[in-house]
Symmetry: C2
Subunit: 409 residues, 2 copies
């Protein structure tokens, strides 16, 4: 029933799993500090560390400059982790060492509708190039995390439906990657979930146990972290806020419904409104961009025009932000998070949108939930997806009583 | 910093806490079955049980008819638990034995704005009567759980703001109850949270780890259970779905905002619309009820008229259900629950509302989240609050490393 790849996971005892989990989260540590974190004796932590060094999973990395005690961490020689963040119009790949430190990055424009062969083929070529440069074989790639811009059933990792990912149904992802990297664990999840994990590991989410990461790109989605753990929901569809209807007479959405948030405020909607504005003679700057681009505009063009102060473009982003904020008001009322982090391609287009998001949240929500709720752009916007893929891949490389480290959170 | 009462909690080791938690959830059990549940040896479970019998917390209750082994459970002689469910217009009190079995119930109309002295005075009088009848002193009341129709800060148990509970601010609840029951632990929570706990212990929520309980009464709120645990949120306000705006030009809400769901679809809104319909000459039946009631209508009257087929009343409930469903669509998209359970006073007014709720959820949500999502009325509608109060009180009577059993979920 499980897709191929999971059998490559490394079995650990509960104590070993907790120890590696701590190192992945907090970095290199002395045996004494590990004992404190694990709430066990120094002798016990030493014993665990030595056994894991014996297995090649841990290594002594360097000395603590203060106490001169030796620090241990995941062994860099054990292998590499890859993160593949597939966007609707972009592909981001990162290769990290065992500690999650990214050693090589690749970003390109890419069309998800080209299908898994082409998109993943490009990722495989990049990863192979990195391994070659490092002078190691493909068997050293230990785990791969993949983010897809659509719902993914967990933990079978199959794509749910095909309305966002034509040609990606079933276990395509595994069957393509497994032959290339026969020793790797392969894990797939929805992109907004992945970004929430990235934010939790290396972004604003680091300091919070309860937060929401909102991705605004071609699609709009959220990853919800509750008590430090990603919420996946009954059918692996938690966080699908982009498909909450905001206007019954709005445009049809890729999901089949009408007036969904993402059909009203996602990248293509922003581009559509800008093109309509050009047709209505409302913006000379947008008209100029459109002529340069063979009669087409993208959300990136509208963002550039907004950055130059184009009122029409600013208005389009404010409208999008307001609609996103209305939906987030309801989300905040349910979850009562500590912070909302906003990321994704469209969020790069300036602060006007974020201001509108904040105002709309305040206007439509319960004051005690939102009056002190920070709503901020993700500062690691370009890398948060790759970081999340690598974090997920690291958690699933190890297995404690049949479960990934994710379950230990 | 803690309000009085918590010092009465009984300290347990982690194993003892887990054992009592299992008995509270599953009822009487043999030492062998307890060993299986605890994943420990039969000798260890026997040892734990004997120590707890020694302390007067457990007792042998009867024999398993099948295996003839002796069953153990919480000792009925140890004392009693009280649940006080304060509604905006009602008061429900229950007294249970240590196993959560309710032995006495009291229900009355009551106005929360009369303040804690009067409302809780009535509850105290009832509980004292029960203890007297049982022939025991007040020191036998071991724990009290109270549900209030407004937000409660957890775990300080103080009322947040005063817009729903005038006169109930601060620690009033504790300072009133503590002198009456000096040996009791006293725990306070929001009513929708309490109902979710009641549903989890004795209602439809029993079979689910992830569900939403929606209370539709004077106010509208939700209790959200994720991975078997109540979600309280960053400022103890999770589940406040009644204050999501559904109409910017709608009536002002008690919270200060405009057009909140509860101002549009709660009990008073239903009554207001019915009285408007009478003024507009739309319903003879409602006009008749209104004349009988000295010119006033309540949601209960509208429910009675709806049950008799009055089209105007049915329309009012359908409209209310539709608005509730629109907000729940957004809630479902975020949480992706296994089931939504609807309860509260207004939900007793017939199935037309539920049908409208279901249709609206389907119309406005992501199909993969809601197409197979059951949305059902709570079958224990009158008791779910009292059950929840008792469940919360039982969890907080015991303390493991400074935390209630709730934290063990």
């Amino acid at each position: 029933m499980n897709p191929p790849g999971l059998e490559n996971a490394i079995d650990l005892s509960l104590d070993e799993g907790l120890l590696i989990h701590i190192l992945l989260k907090k970095g290199a540590m002395s045996r004494t500090d590990l004992a404190r974190e694990l709430d066990c004796s120094r002798a016990k932590s030493g014993e665990l560390v030595n056994a894991l060094i014996e297995r090649g999973l841990l290594a002594e990395v360097n000395n603590d400059s203060r106490t001169r005690s030796r620090l241990v961490n995941l062994d860099p020689d054990f292998g590499y982790i890859a993160g593949i963040d597939v966007g609707t119009t972009s592909l981001d790949v990162g290769v990290s060492d065992m500690t999650g430190e990214v050693i090589a990055r690749y970003s390109t424009e890419s069309a998800v509708e080209d299908g898994p062969d082409i998109v993943l083929g490009e990722a495989i070529a990049f990863i192979n190039g990195v391994l070659e440069q490092e002078g190691v074989g493909v068997e050293k790639l230990r785990s791969i995390g993949i983010g897809l811009p659509g719902p993914v059933r967990f933990p079978s990792f199959s794509v749910i439906g095909d309305h966002f990912l034509p040609g990606w149904e079933g276990h395509e992802v595994h069957y393509l990657l497994q032959p290339a990297f026969p020793k790797a664990v392969i894990v797939v999840d929805n992109d907004a979930n992945i970004m929430a994990l990235g934010s939790q590991h290396k972004g604003l989410g680091k300091d919070y146990q309860n937060f929401i990461f909102v991705k605004v790109g071609t699609g709009i989605g959220a990853g919800v972290i509750i008590n430090g753990k990603l919420l996946r929901g009954a059918t692996s569809c938690a966080g699908h806020i982009g498909h909450t209807c905001v206007d019954f007479s709005g445009p049809y959405c890729r999901c089949g419904n009408q007036g969904c948030l993402e059909a009203m405020a996602g990248g293509p909607a922003i581009a559509r409104k800008a093109m309509q504005a050009v047709a209505d003679g409302e913006s000379d700057l947008l008209a100029e961009y459109m002529e340069q681009n063979n009669g087409v505009l993208t959300a990136v063009d509208v963002g550039e025009a907004a950055a130059k102060g184009d009122e029409t473009s600013l208005g389009i982003f404010r409208d999008a932000g307001r609609m996103i904020g209305y939906v987030l008001a309801g989300v905040a009322n349910v979850v009562n998070p500590e912070i909302i982090v906003v990321g994704g391609g469209v969020s790069k287009s300036g602060y006007q949108m974020l201001t509108a998001v904040r105002r709309a949240i305040l206007k439509r929500s319960y004051p005690f939930v939102t009056v002190n709720l920070p709503v901020r752009y993700s500062p690691i916007i370009d890398d948060v997806g790759v970081y999340g893929c690598i974090a997920l891949a690291s958690d699933w490389l190890f297995r404690v009583e049949g479960e990934s480290l994710e379950a230990l959170c």
